[in-house]
């Protein structure tokens, strides 16, 4: 191992990066775009659900109930049809997604202390909005009841169970708080995975790799010289994403940099190993690109980045254990939100260490074999 050789390779790599008019901007603009996309679009909470109200009671109470829907900010009342049958048409036309049916005699029945059925109709075509909307609606009813009881002093006939869910660590349940820490690892995977898998294939394609190996440079020196610049880029990239996440999206940070840094470093090794392996099995840059995509999509879907692991069918769950991003997400999210340390996260760290050792070893053994042909 000669430091001089490695330094020379790094210098060459940066010289090339600087000449590449597209790559460097992409490495930095890409993450910012992804941040905006995931932070504002995917990570945003469901609000302003288009709603119709069929108020057949037309009393103070019915209006108060309707208002309490609007006041949450989750529902926007767009239509006030006269009958229930109009609701179907509105939903067919995608005009509204939720309808609230207030039966005639609501105020009078409530005053008599009777139980009144108020119906919520939810358009199930968009399952995410549907489940969120019905959740919100239930919340609104519960609040409304509570207030009415307090105001009138009436005790309901069937008190039932007063279930209250208290959300820990992310009290406002802002999905962005879970999205951004996950995004740190995901962006690393996307941009570094794509760039690194191209880096070695490109040299092979150009014939410079072959030229390199009639010089005294060793394979290890070559790989280190090739990887080091990208590690540096990755560090800068991750820092940008974290700073924007914490200061712009106001994601609370309770973790320590040590845990996050160590977790990201281990994850970066798995990304490097994976990209190097792709580089080894591909002959052209197109092949490398295809192979990267082939891995990227299942990784995004099965890691728990977008879809929660808990909601996956049990047959699929074992597969997720083979996806390094899964562990990185757990480390980042729990460390960000709960400040969890190594004592809690060691299984994830161990899993990633094993993965990076395996995949780096595999890539290296391929590297020895595949260079020459």
């Amino acid at each position: 191992m000669s430091i001089k050789h490695i330094r020379l390779l790094i210098w060459k790599e940066f010289l090339q990066l600087r000449r590449d008019r597209l790559l460097l901007p992409l490495i930095f603009i890409g993450p910012i775009m992804q941040l905006i996309m995931f932070g504002y679009v995917v990570g945003s909470d469901v609000t302003n659900i288009p709603t119709a109200i069929v108020d057949q009671d037309m009393t103070m109470t019915s209006r108060a109930l309707a208002d309490s829907f609007v006041n949450t900010g989750y529902f926007t009342i767009l239509e006030r049809p006269a009958t229930e049958s109009d609701v179907q048409t509105l939903m067919d036309k995608n005009r509204v997604q939720v309808a609230l049916l207030i039966p005639p005699g609501l105020e009078a029945d409530l005053a008599r202390g009777e139980q009144v059925p108020v119906e919520i109709i939810v358009d199930g075509a968009d399952s995410k909005t549907a489940s969120v909307a019905s959740g919100y609606a239930a919340q609104v009813f519960a609040d409304f009841n509570q207030k009415r009881i307090e105001a009138t002093g009436l005790v309901p006939d069937a008190p039932g169970i007063d279930a209250r869910v208290r959300v820990l660590f992310n009290p406002t349940l802002r999905s962005v708080n879970a999205m951004i820490p996950g995004l740190v690892a995901t962006i690393l995977l996307i941009s570094m995975g794509v760039v690194m898998s191209q880096a070695i294939v490109r040299e092979r394609e150009r014939g410079t790799l072959e030229q390199m190996f009639v010089t005294p440079i060793t394979r290890g020196e070559y790989l280190l010289g090739k990887i080091a610049p990208y590690i540096l880029l990755a560090i800068i990239q991750v820092s940008v994403v974290m700073v924007v996440g914490i200061f712009w999206f106001r994601v609370p940070f309770h973790g320590t940099l040590l845990v996050i840094g160590l977790g990201l470093l281990l994850f970066l090794f798995t990304v490097i190993g994976q990209s190097m392996f792709i580089s080894m099995i591909s002959r052209t840059r197109q092949q490398a690109q295809q192979a990267t995509m082939f891995i990227l999509i299942p990784t995004m879907v099965l890691s728990g980045f977008i879809f929660p692991l808990e909601s996956m069918p049990p047959e699929i769950v074992p597969v997720t254990y083979f996806i390094p991003l899964r562990y990185a997400l757990v480390i980042l999210r729990t460390s960000f939100m709960k400040g969890a340390g190594l004592e809690a996260l060691w299984p994830q760290f161990a899993a990633m260490a094993v993965f990076s050792a395996l995949i780096l070893g595999l890539a290296l053994s391929r590297f020895q074999k595949r260079l020459s042909d």
């Binding site: 050789h5 060459k12 000449r19 590449d20 150009r206 410079t208 030229q211 005294p216 440079i217 042909d373």
Partner: protein, 319 residues
């Protein structure tokens, strides 16, 4: 026989297999003396590149070994690498680095002392006629200039032996001539050059030539020696009806080789064969009008046409 110390290359039973069955190079043994320009000619797929890559330590031989200035490519690749330069078939420099950057990058990798890099690069650029393009990115050079830059890069550490794999393929004729003038200059300085080429006129410029086909070296001699193996005279037949002339002449036992080259049919006639006038008469009686039938000096083109034909016949007899 040359002394072992004067031996640049000594290949002993080199073989390379792709996969389990395809033999790209099949049990090749030969020696190249120091200071030679050794030309390796043969059709595409003959195994020329594979042989060069094994000799230059890029590819590990499946069988056999080769000594480069006494150092084994198998056991002492580092010692071999120090003394050789290798220029692969395709352009293998960084297209996004400038001429100077490419030179100094490979110079530093090759361990050229820092203070020597600049004067050496300047000398090589001058030598290759690239001085005015020193700050141009390699991708914006013409084909001929790219090849000259690649050659300059392989020379930066002052190797004693150069491996050039079809260095002038796809290069215009003027640049090709210039490239060979540079090689002649290297030869005068005592550098051994091992060059694979598909061009017969380039083989003519070598001090020694080997003909490779089907993974084997079939002949190895000086150009003069090879030409002397042709047991006949070379005639050029000028006619518009080249294919018919070839079909007519081919079956005669005294017609050792009949090929069409550009505008003319080239015919090697055995020493006891008919004269030019007799051949002209023979063709015109069959309705082929000829403008001329004239003797020319046997060149490499004709020599290889003849030797390849003979090798093919030998193989057919053998199988």
């Amino acid at each position: 026989m040359t002394d072992a110390l004067d031996m640049a290359i000594d290949a002993k039973g080199l073989a390379h297999r792709f996969g389990s069955s395809v033999l790209a190079v099949d049990d090749v043994s030969f020696a190249v003396g120091a200071g030679e320009i050794f030309g390796l000619v043969g059709p595409d797929g003959a195994g020329k590149s594979t042989l060069i890559r094994m000799l230059s330590t890029v590819l590990r031989p499946s069988e056999g070994d080769a000594d480069i200035f006494g150092a084994s490519v198998l056991h002492k690749p580092a010692a071999v690498k120090r003394r050789i330069g290798y220029m692969s078939q395709r352009f293998s420099l960084y297209p996004d680095l400038t001429v100077t950057e490419n030179l100094s990058f490979f110079a530093s990798l090759r361990g050229v002392p820092r203070r020597e890099i600049r004067p050496r690069s300047a000398r090589l650029l001058e030598f290759a006629g690239l001085t005015e393009f020193a700050n141009r990115q390699a991708q914006f050079l013409s084909g001929g200039m790219k090849q000259k830059l690649a050659l300059a890069v392989t020379l930066i550490h002052e190797p004693d032996l150069l491996f050039l794999d079809e260095p002038t393929t796809g290069v215009d004729p003027v640049s090709r001539r210039e490239f060979w003038r540079i090689i002649a200059g290297l030869h005068r300085r005592g550098i051994t050059v091992f060059v694979a080429t598909p061009y017969m006129d380039e083989a003519e410029r070598c001090t020694h030539v080997a003909f490779m086909d089907g993974g084997r070296i079939l002949f190895r001699d000086t150009p003069t020696g090879l030409k002397a193996r042709v047991p006949g005279r070379l005639l050029e037949v000028c006619t518009k009806d080249q294919r018919k002339a070839r079909a007519l002449l081919g079956p005669y036992p005294w017609a050792l080789s009949v090929t069409v080259l550009g505008e003319v049919v080239r015919l090697i006639v055995a020493l006891d064969g008919p004269s030019e006038l007799e051949i002209q008469a023979l063709l015109s009686s069959a309705g082929v009008v000829t403008q001329c039938v004239r003797p020319v000096r046997v060149d490499m083109e004709a020599t290889f046409a003849f030797l390849a034909e003979e090798a093919r016949l030998d193989r057919e007899v053998a199988s």
